[in-house]
Symmetry: D2
Subunit: 177 residues, 4 copies
């Protein structure tokens, strides 16, 4: 869907989740939930998730995946910027895909008190996420995740890499009174 290269792989989700540093009951907003691979992982931490995607069919697929696991999340289908407004505050945000990353990050910077994590595979998105976060004064770090998985061959194993993903991490400016 929005995230080129197919659904986010479990190892990449694990790294992104680690950067989010969620505590149970934290409120986290997910922009571009797609079919819900990351949504499921977020919900399994005990966090309260608001999942956003502009495609109703993505929301439906996500809900089916969550339901099969006996989990529920809040959700809304629409453009992220409009969907986030007035829904905060959040402890954390995850952006798996967005058409207007700059605007979304600007809003998240004000609505989030903790980690804002963007997963990106496009060079232009990696560059834009780093530049935008830096401009907003919220950039913390980025990591490139390159995972190779074993495949059995000739009685041993060889390595087959999955597409590398950049995990860009910022920190929201919202400070609780």
């Amino acid at each position: 869907m929005e995230l080129p290269g197919g659904p986010t792989q479990e190892e990449v989700i694990a790294v992104a989740l680690g950067k989010l540093r969620l505590k149970p009951r934290d409120r986290v907003v997910e922009v571009g939930c797609g079919t819900g691979a990351v949504t499921l992982a977020l919900a399994q931490t005990g966090a309260r998730v608001l999942a956003i995607d502009r495609r109703p069919e993505a929301i439906a697929a996500m809900r089916e995946r969550l339901g099969a696991a006996g989990l529920t999340v809040d959700y809304v289908s629409g453009e992220a910027a409009a969907c986030i407004e007035g829904k905060g505050p959040f402890e954390a945000a995850f952006v798996g895909g967005s058409r207007d990353l700059g605007e979304v990050l600007g809003i998240l910077a004000e609505q989030v008190s903790g980690a804002i994590v963007v997963n990106a595979v496009l060079l232009s998105t990696v560059h834009a996420a780093v530049e935008t976060m830096t401009g907003l004064g919220i950039f913390k770090e980025a990591v490139q995740v390159q995972i190779s998985r074993s495949h059995p061959l000739a009685g041993s194993i060889m390595w087959r890499p999955i597409d590398p993903v950049c995990v860009i991490v910022g920190r929201g400016r919202l400070r609780c009174s």
Copy 2:
């Protein structure tokens, strides 16, 4: 300590934790806990941890780290094979370092019902873990984790890689009655 290359890095811990698939209250044994970087992450999931290290000073350092986080784990200082016997069953096991990996994996295969995860950076350890698990019929997969982190430079960022780590995953043969 036992794990060459220094303490396990957070992104690598995240991937290993993902492979362990711990549920709260699971019992997990950690072989070669070192100074406790992984122990802390295990304990934070709500699992009940038995941490083993043959070096008393490692156990002391681990306990201090856990205590600073307000967490406690069971622990024992000694050779892993002897320390595990009679302490099971466990839902999962993590091996961060061991002098006698073959013997330890043989014991874990019988004492663990879920994931057995070995982190290794030495080529000979990676090879031995895969071969031993395969011989025991418990090998599931291995992943190589290559993480690069951003470093600010000249108004942009460059990537600085950390040492790659192999995460070798098996599944214990213990079946609950």
Copy 3:
């Protein structure tokens, strides 16, 4: 020097050279030669090299390195754009560093008939090189080179990665009459 992360490593030079597809007696221009690690490799192929660097001390270091290997190249110290004008045509170009990459690539596109290779470690430079080449209609491909080297440890080896480098490849528009 201009290229963050120190001199280009031999494996990265090998990949870049492969992309240049030099034939003996080809004329190749190198922008940002630094202390000459790549210059030496270019000269060893039998190509005729014009090495450019705006820092006289870099040129001096490069010449000393080449002289120690019994090789000579043409060279000029100054801003690349000015130094290239009127010096072509070239069969190939290598850019190891430049202050004004956009202008340099624009000039090279007209002066080079074969491969134009840019090595970059900064995210902003990778992005700019791809975007500029694409805008000029000369972009062919980019490859990310991640090399890990063995280090002896405990009777075996572990892997120590060197900084990843992007090699961006274009093709000059100069067509020989």
Copy 4:
């Protein structure tokens, strides 16, 4: 063929060639030439190549590839150990695949005066090559080569990795009188 993962990719060939440090007119033996991707690169350096493969159809494919490039090499179809005996001395050797790596490396150690390079993708082969070379006292280094290539997507690029390859480098013990 013998080398799992298909023909050796150009960037990996470039790194391996760099490690071979061939000079024009050097004699190099290639064990497991397959369809000749590496053979062609070896021949293009001006080295004199002896290509060995136990499969006549591989030799035929290699010869066709070389012929199309206007190049010729010596060749022999058979088991490597038998084919090498009495054919040296060589300045360098490249092993792309072999059934009996240990025996072949033992012979090459005595017949080669310069670099002996083994490309391997199987974990067991990497391990065996390092262990055997170390036992023979000829191990120099190993490098893991992880290349990702750009793929155009959504007006930008993403990275698609190719299978990582280990390049294991030794140095033959033959000393010229």
